[in-house]
């Protein structure tokens, strides 16, 4: 950063950024449902939503009105407090995780000369915080499934536990190797490490692929869409939910997809550094958009796995690979010194 930068407006700035993140990400999460339906439709040579507004763009408003005005049913034998709180856990943790994630390069607001670092709080354990928050988000499905007195919900929450135990090891171990190379847990340091234009994915292709696979499991996206797979367990943990509580789960899921996209972009794909003549903010928007598109693409193309296959994959294939990757990275770093 240049020497002329002005001190950040601390308290007010953080609040403004928090509100902005909440507003923008929940808007994008809503818009993501439209994008998903459109992309999946195109890949199956259908049109998708197209009658509400131009190109069906207002479909998400129609869906929002529907979700808000639907009756909010709490089943008779459900544990009412946990049932009511569970969706909030999923949505809240998804947004809290975004607090420690930088999205854009730092910039100065013109005319009033306020220097703005584009991160709500640059804490020095950024990656741990974000991964921990996303992992805590799994309490949402877990509690929701157990609270609703429904056998499909129970199966859904059992699958949540299975999935959580499987992928979380891989997420941590796969991202450990880049952390060893950079020597920091802050996302800003990761971005600055790649400022010379060499993306970390060049040094850590295995870790990148492992992280992507674990990220799909973390966001319940299709190859590992076990928690609410309709064909097997009705809707899993959301069987008894309706209206806006149901909507909160999916706002959380889409926010998590964006978070995974941001982490993959910042940690592995060069972050928000300028690339040739393309400015950094455009680069990272492109990367996040591509990773979002990739998740939809995979959903259109691949079938999903069984729970036992997921455990087999994570524990017997991905975890050994991640450990080997960490060991080799360590040896190379040691020899290079």
């Amino acid at each position: 950063m240049d020497a002329t930068h002005l001190p950040e407006v601390t308290a007010a700035g953080v609040i403004i950024k928090a509100v902005l993140i909440l507003a923008v990400v929940s808007a994008i999460a809503g818009f993501g449902t439209y994008i998903e339906r459109k992309i999946l439709a195109f890949m199956q040579r259908r049109y998708g939503p197209q009658h509400v507004g131009p190109y069906g763009l207002l479909q998400l408003i129609a869906d929002g009105i529907k979700l808000f005005t639907k009756e909010d049913i709490i089943p008779q034998h459900a544990n009412k407090i946990i049932f009511a709180v569970a969706p909030v856990i999923t949505a809240a943790t998804a947004f809290i995780a975004l607090a420690a994630v930088p999205v854009f390069p730092d910039f100065t607001i013109p005319f009033i000369d306020v220097y703005v670092p584009s991160i709500a709080s640059d804490i020095n354990i950024g990656i741990l915080f974000v991964l921990g928050m996303m992992a805590a988000g799994l309490y949402g499905p877990l509690l929701a499934g157990m609270a609703q007195a429904n056998k499909w919900g129970i199966i859904g929450s059992a699958r949540t536990a299975i999935q959580f135990l499987s992928y979380e090891v891989v997420t941590g171990l796969s991202i450990l190797a880049p952390i060893m190379m950079v020597g920091s847990l802050s996302f800003v340091d990761f971005n600055d490490y790649q400022a010379d234009g060499t993306w970390l994915v060049v040094y850590q292709p295995v870790a990148f692929i492992l992280f992507l696979i674990a990220g799909f499991a973390e966001t319940n996206r299709t190859p590992f869409d076990l928690l609410e797979h309709e064909a097997e367990v009705i809707s899993g943990y959301v069987t008894e939910y309706s209206g806006m509580r149901w909507g909160l789960f999916f706002i959380g899921e889409y926010a998590n997809m964006i978070t995974i996209g941001v982490i993959a972009s910042v940690v592995f794909l060069g972050g928000y550094n300028d690339f040739w003549i393309i400015p950094g903010w455009l680069m990272i928007i492109g990367k996040i958009a591509f990773s979002f598109f990739f998740m939809l693409w995979v959903r259109a193309a691949w079938p999903h796995v069984r729970p036992d296959q997921l455990m087999w994959l994570c524990w017997k294939v991905l975890m050994p690979l991640a450990v080997i990757n960490v060991v080799i990275t360590g040896i190379v770093i040691m020899l290079a010194q």
Binding site: M43, R45, Y47
Partner: protein, 207 residues
């Protein structure tokens, strides 16, 4: 498109390809090899490519599969039996019906009611003609028996209305006089659809 390849139904004379299916590995090493080969085969990317190709096809090459039904309609087979139509003579524009009453007689659900009288030229004139579509079973006998090809089954299959009577008067079924040039001649029983050639698909026997 020739029909020879479809007519060859002698099973076993075609050139079949046997798929090279692996046996399920029994030993640990065999399983390990299978996992490794499946991991590094680009099969997953073939799947990704197929869906991406279909998206390009749909968006840019006009291969969108959806028929947007109320706005677009697929051509209907001529042998489809929908709401009846009364046709006109092309030269004079007069209706073809000669008032013979055969359709009324043959109707097995007794839904056709007609009344005729002699006009000033001592020709038969249809004074009243209704079909009760609450009773009609769309069997098609009336169209089959008609000696003048006057009553046929038209392509109008959207029969939702507030009143059954909306379809059933002679004037409603008669070709409008200003649309005489658009009147479709009945193709006859057993006629194929106008897009029949496009709909021909290979049967598994021909592979």
């Amino acid at each position: 498109m020739g029909l020879e390849q479809f007519k060859n139904r002698n099973v076993g004379t075609q050139n079949y390809k046997t798929l090279d299916l692996d046996h399920t590995p029994v030993t640990g090493m065999g399983q390990f090899k299978q996992v490794v080969s499946r991991t590094f085969k680009p099969e997953l990317f073939v799947g990704l490519w197929v869906t991406f190709r279909e998206m390009i096809n749909a968006l840019f090459r006009g291969k969108m599969h959806t028929t947007q039904y109320p706005f677009e309609k697929l051509p209907i087979s001529p042998r489809y039996r929908a709401i009846h139509e009364m046709l006109r003579l092309l030269e004079s524009g007069h209706y073809r019906c000669i008032g013979c009453g055969l359709c009324e007689k043959i109707c097995i659900s007794n839904c056709i009611t007609m009344d005729t009288r002699y006009d000033e030229n001592q020709r038969k004139e249809v004074s009243e003609y209704t079909i009760n579509f609450g009773r009609c079973i769309f069997c098609g006998y009336c169209a089959e028996v008609c000696p003048e090809l006057a009553i046929v089954h038209g392509p109008r299959y959207e029969t939702a209305s507030e009143q059954r009577a909306s379809f059933s008067l002679f004037e409603d079924m008669l070709t409008p006089i200003d649309k005489l040039n658009l009147q479709q001649e009945y193709q006859g029983f057993g006629a194929v659809s106008p897009n029949a050639d496009e709909n021909i698909k290979k049967t598994p026997l021909a592979y």
